[in-house]
Structure formats: C-alpha cells, structure tokens
Amino acid sequence: MSTIAAADERVARTSPLGRLMKRPEIGALVAAVAIFVFFAVTTDVFATLSGSATWLRSASTIGIMAVAVAMLMIGGEFDLSAGAMTGFAGLVVGILTTEYGLNVWLAILVSLALALAVGFVNGLIVMRTGLPSFIVTLGTFFVLQGIDLAGTKALIGQVAIQGMRNVPFYDQPQKLFGSSMEIGRGTFYVSIVWWVAVTAVATWVLMRTRVGNWVFAVGGAQHSSRQVGVPVAKTKIGLFMGTAGCGWLVGMLLLFTTSTVQSNTGVGQEFVYIICAVVGGCLMTGGYGSAIGAALGALIYGMANQGIVYAGWDNNWLKAFLGVMLLTAVLLNEWVRKRAEEAR
C-alpha cells in the first residue's frame, strides 16, 4: 500500500504545465495564440466581433473535416476524397430537390447514405487489398470529382445548384445547418457550433472509449493490435465512414448556409485538412495525434485566411504561409515522435 501511494506521489510531481507540454496539440496552441495576437495588433477589424465571426466561419467547415481526417490519420490512413465528398454531398441534395422535386429531408438522407457508402467502399478496398489508402482514395477523389463536374452538368445543365430557396420545407434543414445569430455586429453561423460539437465528440471517442484505444492501436502497430484482439478492419472502415459522414455534414452546412453548391466545391481542400491535422500534431505515420489539435490547426487556417485579407496583403501569401506551417509542424512532430519512441 505504502509503495503504491509513493508511486502516486511521484506521478503528481509532474506539474500541469509539464503535462501540457507533452500534449500533441501544444505546438498548434502556441501558433494559434501567436497568430491571433499578430493580426489583432496589426489590423483593426480582426479582433472585433464581426471580424472574428468571419474567420470562425471559415475555420468551422475546414475544422470539421480536419478533425475527421485527424482521426483517420491517427488510425494510420489518409482520405484524399474528403474534399470532393463535401461538394458531392451538397450536389446530391441540390439536384434531387431542385431538379427531381424530392422531399428535402429525404434527399438529405439519400445523400448521407451515399456518402457513408463511399466511405465504406474506401475502407473495404484498403483493408481487403492492403493497398496504401493514399492511392485508393486518390482514385475515389477523381471518381467523385468527375461525377461532381460531369454529372451535375449532364443532369441540370449548369455548374451550380440554383433555386434552392424555392424548395418546399427548405427552411427546416436550413435552421439546422445554415442559421446564424447576431452578436453585436458579428454574424455567427451554426457551423461553428457543429465544429465545436464534432471536436468534442471526437476527443471523447479518442481519449475515453474503447474505440479510441483501438484507433490509436491500429495506427500505431496494426499487426500487434490484431494479435491482442482489436477488430482492425472494423475500426478502419468505421474511420473512413466517419470521414465521409463529416464530408456529408460539411456539404449540408455549405449548401444551407449559402443556398448553393458549385460542382467544384471542396476540390483541393483535401490537402488543407491534412495540413490542419498535421499542424495539430498528427503524425503522417499514424498512431499519434489529437482532435483538438486538428481543430486548432483549422483555427490557424481560418485566422490566417481572413487576417491576410484584413491586412490588405495579396491573398496568395496564404499558400506560402500554409507551406511553412506544414514543414514546421512535420519537423516538430517528428522530433516529438522520436522522443516518445526512444528508449531511455
């Protein structure tokens, strides 16, 4: 008994700060604070309510996907089809309702089912063939992109959904996915709430549940996990479906916030999600990372995206900034991983 109490005592000696320094998201937290302070000082609008509403909105949809992609990366896989999926899900609802007059709720469910099916197929192919998910989802990405562009044009003869507001019962899902709230001069969209909710659920699952334990395990050492009885295929297929499901959610948020989706929506975003996840502390090799970190990564993206506009700089500097963030994060993560894996 006394020995055990002594062991507890020694553990308690680690200070809260020391504990925080060990978290995977610490780098992203420091960077987020620094960027906030920088733009808050150098521009007038950034730290106001209306300014923050703008960058929070842009961070929210990216953030939902970044969190989902981060979970998948912790599980040791990539999903390059995640960006195209957001457009695909929105287009399905838009086309089914405006062109074919389907009930809007039914269309939303059809879209969800299709998204989950794509995620399932992604996962199944990866698990059955053992091919890298990078290649498999690159394939799905191009398939979805082709369907989004050519399918939309063939079915409605346009490249964007129009007349969404005239769809019967449009206002019902619009409340759920596209409503907003005025606080001061800022218009805060409900997507921010969804972003926080998705981050909270993902963190709960990762840190507190059996499934979370399995996600870390299959990403860290798949063979070992299988040996001790972790359902590897189910876990990974579930992760692919989760990512696709979040793609659907973001599709709905985009569609019902702006009442339109374009056929190229989301294309090119898949790398932004991965960058946000990596900036948030996810290892490219899997087995390590955090959902909160990915959310912070998206926050950094959103702040930089709008901050550059407020500062009056050329928008394209964002790309260079993202590249620098990514490289710094990868180097930092690699160092963290080495420290964690090395024998004392």
Binding site: M1, T3, I4, A7, R10, V11, T14, W204, R208, T209, R210, G212, N213, F216, A217, G220, A221, H223, S224, S225, Q227, V228, G229, V230, G287, Y288, R337, A340, E341, E342, A343, R344
Partner: protein
C-alpha cells in the same frame, strides 16, 4: 488492495477472486465477461503439481517429421527450458503448446486430461498464454493503454460508456509492481521502456488475463547481457508467483540459472529431458553445442584448411572448452543475472 509482494497461494487466490467480482461488473461485453471468468477460473495449483505433461509428442507435416519423441512436463512454480539450435523444432513445439498446431503423435495432457488444442483461444482458456518475440505492444501508446488493449474494461452506459481509466492505470501499476517493475508513470509511451521492461509488461499482461502457464518464445534473443538479466529476473518472479513457465532459448547460460527442467531438441528429436539435479551447466552447454559434432567438424576443417587456420583453432578451443569448461565458467559469471534462488 493486495500487497505488492505476493504472499502464500491462498492470499493470491482470494485477491484474484475479488478482481473477478469487480472486473465482471465492468466488463464490456457478455462475451468478454465470459472469457475473463473462464480464464480467471483457472486457479493456480500448488507448486510442483504438473500442469502440462507431454509424452512422446510428435508432429508431422505430410511426410516431413518436424518433431518426435518429446517427453517433458511443465509444473506450477517451475521453469521448463526448451533448448535447441535454429531448426531444432523449438517453434513447432511451442506452436503445439500454444494451440496453433495440433500434434499428430503422442499425448498432450493438461491437468491430467488429454487435450487436442485447435486454436490459440483453446490454449488461453486452459490458461496457457504465449508471449511472442514481437510482444504485441504499440510503442506510442501509454503503458496502461497497452496493458488492456483489446480487452478494455469500461463503465457507464450508452453514449457515456467509457474506459475505466482509473481502474486501468491502478491495475497496470499494481500488476507491474508484482513483477518487480516500479514505473514512475504508467502514462509514458511503452516505447520509452527498455526491451526487458517491455517484455515484462507483456508477461504481466498475460498473467493478469489468467495465464497459469507462460510460454516465452526466445525472450532474451534480441537483448544485451544486462537486459537479458532483467528478463531472467522476471521469469524467476513469475515462477515465484506459482506459474509454470516454458522458456524457449538457444542460450544455456540464460536457461541454467532460472530453469528447473531442461528439454533439449536437435533436428526435431528430443535428446534429453533433465531435472536440474541431473545435469550441470557444462554438460548442458556441451550437449547444446553438440560436442561430438563440433569435434568432427574441427577435424574436417583441419583437413581442408590446415591445422594452423584460425577458424580451426577456434573450433578446437571451443571443443576443449566444452570438456574442461574453465572458460565457460567465466562466461557464466559474466552472464549470470542477479536471480534469487528460490
């Protein structure tokens, strides 16, 4: 709470009983609950009682005879060492004990009842657990998450069903303490532990999940002298706790200090099964090295390469060393870890 230093058998059994009560309530699924109870129902018999007895055990794959004529026993509180060079049939023997392969000749008795194991799960149900060389751990995950990986205890219902973190951490710390490992922080990634300590976490995990017999597949093969010593210490510890241990190795210097019984394999045949009182380290080393074979090899090489060749000189020295064993005794003094004899 049970005391870290394990006392008599009775105390240990009652502690296990309490754990079953608590774990059963919190176990995730009905299946896991049943498995856990089945596994922990296997109370440890008193030391010296045979748990596994094999007689003339053999295995052939088609026309290939991989193993034959193996007779030995694994007793509670004793270490049975299986010694042999590469390809001697050690892995075939483990696979039969572990339930991965069915034996084709002889008898395989567990607690006096003849068994034909069809899967590793059958072996686990009988309390026979195998710790393979790769240990099945995830380096980046904390020690306590690794300890329970695949059989995580949970509490709460519905969406609030969650890992019983407090129980998991405390149990991990206690179980490791029983093995003599005092971790400052079970939250550290298991990859930061030394090779020997990781081996011990794998052993402690097997013991906690109901093992009565531990099969250790070359646990010291990839380790340095000092780390090997650490692992040998834990093998002795597992023996003290009343488990039967099957220790597979090709190193007699590792086997002799902890072993109670030595079974030697060569070319798929058993070339002897000795209690410790019946054999000395030198005899064991000599049989392992294949004294006679080495001698003839030295002669052969001398003919081809000339007596002065350094290879031949070395071989001859080895052969003499086996006979005289002076040099070997020095080796043993170096390699022998600090193992308290029972």
């Amino acid at each position: 709470m049970s005391t870290p230093t394990s006392g008599g058998t009775d105390e240990r059994v009652s502690a296990t009983g309490k754990r079953v009560g608590r774990a059963a309530r919190e176990w995730a699924t009905a299946q896991a609950r049943a498995e856990a109870e089945a596994a922990r129902g296997n109370a440890l018999p008193s030391p010296g009682t045979p748990i596994i007895e094999v007689t003339d055990l053999g295995k052939s794959y088609g026309r290939v005879i991989a193993l034959r004529g193996v007779t030995t026993s694994v007793r509670a509180g004793e270490v049975t060492c299986v010694l042999g060079d590469n390809g001697a049939g050690k892995s075939t023997f483990i696979k039969i004990l572990a339930g991965a392969h069915r034996h084709s000749e002889g008898t395989f008795e567990v607690d006096g009842v003849e068994q034909h194991l069809d899967s590793p799960r059958d072996a686990l149900t009988l309390g026979i657990a195998t710790v393979y060389q790769d240990l099945a751990v995830v380096p980046l995950m904390p020690v306590w998450r690794n300890f329970f990986l695949g059989s995580e205890p949970v509490r709460g219902r519905g969406p609030l069903r969650r890992l019983d973190r407090e129980f998991m951490k405390r149990t991990t710390r206690d179980e490791l303490l029983k093995m003599g490992i005092d971790l400052r922080d079970v939250d550290q990634p298991i990859g930061t532990l030394s090779g020997g300590e990781r081996q011990c976490v794998a052993i402690a995990r097997a013991v906690y999940f109901g093992a009565r017999v531990l099969i250790l597949d070359e646990p010291t093969a990839a380790l340095g002298v000092k780390q090997s010593g650490v692992v040998l210490k834990y093998i002795a510890k597992a023996r003290e706790r009343g488990l039967g241990v099957v220790f597979i190795t090709h190193n007699p210097h590792h086997a002799y200090p902890v072993g109670d019984r030595f079974m030697l394999l060569r070319r798929g045949r058993s070339i002897g099964d000795y209690a410790k009182s019946e054999i000395t380290l030198d005899e064991l080393t000599s049989m392992m090295a294949g004294g006679a074979e080495l001698e003839s090899l030295a002669h052969e090489l001398a003919r081809d390469m000339g007596d002065s060749s350094p290879v031949v000189a070395e071989l001859k020295a080895d052969v003499e060393g086996d006979h005289e064993a002076d040099r070997e005794a020095d080796h043993v003094a170096d390699a022998e870890p600090d193992v308290e004899s029972p």
